[in-house]
């Protein structure tokens, strides 16, 4: 961290910079108001709302089935997770205890594939933010293969509307298991390539290690969750701590930041946790693909979703963190209130705390390591 000079000595003044909403590395339409003294940043104010679509209000006028495609559009890089989290919430609201085994397996498989796809973007874009362009194209190349898998399953490539409350839109295609295994065999060695090209690169370490350190207490105070929290060394993962779906059946670890290259909780740790999580996802996928049972995926879909009066709060571990959904039902086929606690929103709020006092270049690194998606922040 750099000390801002005593202004009275040199008569320097601060300058307000406006980064975004049109800027190459604000990951969408985020605007940062940066107060700088030369290269050194003394205060950052994220200004959001450029992508606001009234998601929560809109949901009050849509039936429960119709909301699913809109949840997809919140976190467009992990659409499967949002639909899965929403479906779990609605199932709780309806009181559906047990789903067919096959449904749960397919959901977990797709969610883990989606986690890999989303982390690939995060890893590649972090490289792009610090100036390395090649890792980005390599990760996108591999993400493309996951998207191909999704296309064969759901019919679309980015926004799926596949996981529905109570089940799935339809079953897997016949040769899906084979294709998924092929992909995993192809993908595992690729992680080593990313590590060689980017993770262990000296310049990359210089740019990310020891920078934007987020201590555990700061992280918890700001409600940070997901890989960003785990980067600070807290092994908190809803898949382990409050297992939903059938995650308790699988054997996997929760990787945390250890400060291998610098301090615990720096940008490098937040980045590396994502790389390790991809490996854990591969572990889960291998177990799930080997033991997927037969069954009818539409058996438990309710004919009409009209929950009784009541309310529910449900949590889900997306690729970015803890997605909370509060739904209050007024006994109609539309929710009378839906509130989403989006993980990236809370993760972004910590930006000023951990990057004030660093240079402009470091603000970009920190922002990249937080891995935000504006569609979910603004909703």
């Amino acid at each position: 961290m750099y000390k801002v000079l005593d202004k009275s000595i040199i008569g320097a003044d601060e300058m307000v910079m406006n980064m975004g909403p049109q800027h190459p590395s604000t990951h969408g339409v985020l605007r940062l108001k940066i107060v700088t003294d030369g290269e050194i940043v003394s205060h950052i104010e994220p200004i959001i709302g450029y992508l606001h679509r009234c998601f929560e209000k809109h949901c009050e006028n849509l039936s429960y089935e119709q909301i699913v495609p809109f949840t997809d559009r919140c976190d467009y890089l992990a659409a499967m997770h949002m639909a899965h989290g929403y479906s779990i919430a609605v199932e709780k609201l309806l009181g559906i205890e047990e789903l067919p085994e096959r449904v749960e397996y397919i959901r977990v498989i797709l969610a883990e594939f989606q986690r890999i796809a989303s982390h690939l973007i995060a890893v590649g874009v972090f490289g792009l933010d610090v100036g390395a362009i090649t890792p980005f194209t390599w990760t996108l190349r591999d993400r493309e293969r996951i998207i191909d898998l999704f296309e064969s399953v759901t019919g679309s490539r980015l926004l799926y509307n596949y996981i529905w409350p109570g089940g799935l839109a339809h079953d897997l295609p016949p040769n899906f298991i084979q294709k998924a295994n092929d992909f995993l065999n192809y993908f595992e060695p690729q992680i080593e390539e990313y590590n060689n090209l980017l993770t262990t690169n000296k310049i990359f370490i210089e740019r990310s290690a020891d920078i934007g350190v987020m201590p555990v207490d700061v992280a918890i105070n700001y409600g940070v969750s997901g890989p960003t929290l785990r980067g600070s060394g807290v092994p908190f993962d809803l898949r382990k701590d409050e297992p939903y779906s059938i995650y308790q059946k699988f054997d996997f670890d929760v990787p945390v930041g250890e400060g291998l290259m610098g301090t615990v909780g720096d940008c490098w740790d937040r980045y590396y946790v994502k790389v390790l999580e991809m490996k854990e996802s591969i572990k889960i996928l291998k177990q799930a693909l080997n033991s997927i049972p037969e069954g009818d995926v539409k058996a438990a879909i309710p004919k009409k979703i009209r929950p009784k009066k009541g309310e529910i709060y449900s949590r889900y571990e997306t690729a970015r963190g803890d997605l909370g959904l509060y739904i209050r039902s007024g006994g109609k086929n539309m929710p009378s209130r839906l509130k989403m606690r989006s993980p990236a929103y809370c993760n972004l709020s910590v930006l000023n705390e951990i990057s004030a006092g660093w240079m402009i270049s470091d603000v970009i690194s920190v922002l990249g390591s937080l891995d935000i998606v504006l569609g979910e922040i603004d909703r």
């Binding site: 406006n18 190459p24 100036g131 090649t134 740019r207 270049s361």
Partner: protein
């Protein structure tokens, strides 16, 4: 070593004109040739850069635009007309000048940068006798002229009246001025050994002895320091902090578009060419064939491998390889931060350069005592 201007003066001496008038008339020929070299170099280099980038990133790069109906190879090297199409696009684009910009300075900046690159070419030799003017202070002149560009960069950043541009130009100024020092100190080794600032003399020394990079272990290190420093001097990744796309949008070029921006581009690639040629002339034997790496007793006037004409090919292949390495850097590495860049220059390169200078002097002294 005779220069191009001298030969042209001799050639046209039959006209009987006064020498100074003849000089003015004759000068247009090398001037136009230099401009042509710059344009062709930029056109080819942009295409190659895009292709190199694409292949390293598992892509194909430009594949669609052909030239006179010929598209190039079907599978990989297609789209050879892409750069020309891009150039036409840039020339016909609207010239956007921000309302609150300093319009005169903004117009002036691209030309200063261009002139810096253009004038440097005067002393850059392409082969034996193929140099516009054979300065006896060639090394010094090239160093001086290549740093003229930084004035243009500062003017461009200031006149754009954009905070990003200002940041970019300030970074550029700090960076280029700092990296002049390791460049100068590395070139000084050659001057120290050869005892001349003339590039022709330096190559002559290499013809008589060996490539300068193999003069001693210290010059071997010096070559790498020199090469990395010139990469920084030309503002290319991993040292592209003045343009730093993900931080400063486009740095000092943010407000430029169309023709002016094309001139920046032209100058950047011309600078790459210049520094590559200088590196090959000073360290890699210039226009000598690789058989002169060590003096194995083959006469240097062996016409098949050495000579003014074939020398162009040797020099160009060395320079183009160095340009390729620059591209290779760019598509592999992340970008350094400002202070890390300064750290690299002042705390790594300059101590090593000074040590090199000291040890090469000792080496020469001992060599003089024992080997002569």
């Amino acid at each position: 070593m005779t220069s191009v201007v001298d030969s042209l003066l001799n050639l046209f001496s039959f006209t009987g004109l006064d020498n100074s008038i003849l000089l003015i008339l004759v000068l247009h020929i090398p001037a136009l040739s230099i401009f042509l070299v710059m344009v062709v170099n930029a056109t080819v280099a942009v295409y190659v850069e895009r292709k190199v980038a694409a292949f390293m990133q598992d892509r194909l790069g430009p594949m669609e635009v052909g030239l006179f109906g010929f598209k190039g190879g079907k599978k990989f090297w297609g789209g050879i007309g892409q750069t020309i199409a891009d150039a036409i696009k840039l020339l016909t684009k609207e010239d956007i000048v921000p309302d609150s910009a300093d319009k005169k300075l903004m117009l002036l900046a691209p030309f200063i940068i261009f002139i810096g690159a253009f004038l440097t070419f005067i002393a850059v030799p392409f082969s034996q006798n193929l140099v516009v003017s054979d300065f006896n202070i060639g090394v010094f002149y090239i160093m001086a002229m290549s740093s003229v560009g930084v004035i243009g960069i500062i003017i461009a950043g200031w006149s754009s009246n954009n905070k990003w541009s200002l940041y970019g130009s300030m970074r550029a100024a700090a960076q280029i001025v700092s990296y002049e020092i390791p460049i100068g100190l590395s070139l000084l080794l050659a001057v120290l050994v050869v005892g001349s600032l003339n590039l022709g003399d330096i190559v002559q020394w290499q013809a008589e002895n060996r490539w300068f990079i193999f003069h001693s272990p210290f010059t071997f290190i010096a070559f790498f320091i020199f090469f990395i420093s010139v990469v920084a001097e030309t503002n290319r990744t991993p040292f592209d902090i003045p343009e730093a796309e993900s931080e400063l949008v486009a740095g000092w070029m943010t407000e430029y578009s169309g023709f002016k921006w094309a001139i920046f581009f032209l100058s950047e690639y011309a600078n790459m060419m210049i520094v590559s040629i200088v590196a090959s002339v000073v360290f890699l034997g210039g226009w000598l064939s690789p058989f002169a790496i060590i003096n194995v007793g083959i006469p240097n006037s062996w016409m098949i491998f050495d000579g003014p004409l074939i020398g162009i090919i040797w020099l160009m292949s060395k320079a183009l390889f160095l340009i390729f390495v620059m591209m290779w850097f760019r598509w592999t590495f992340p970008r350094l931060r400002v202070d890390q860049l300064m750290y690299l220059c002042w705390k790594v390169f300059i101590p090593f350069c000074l040590a090199n200078l000291f040890f090469v002097s000792i080496w020469e002294l001992i060599g003089g005592l024992f080997f002569k």
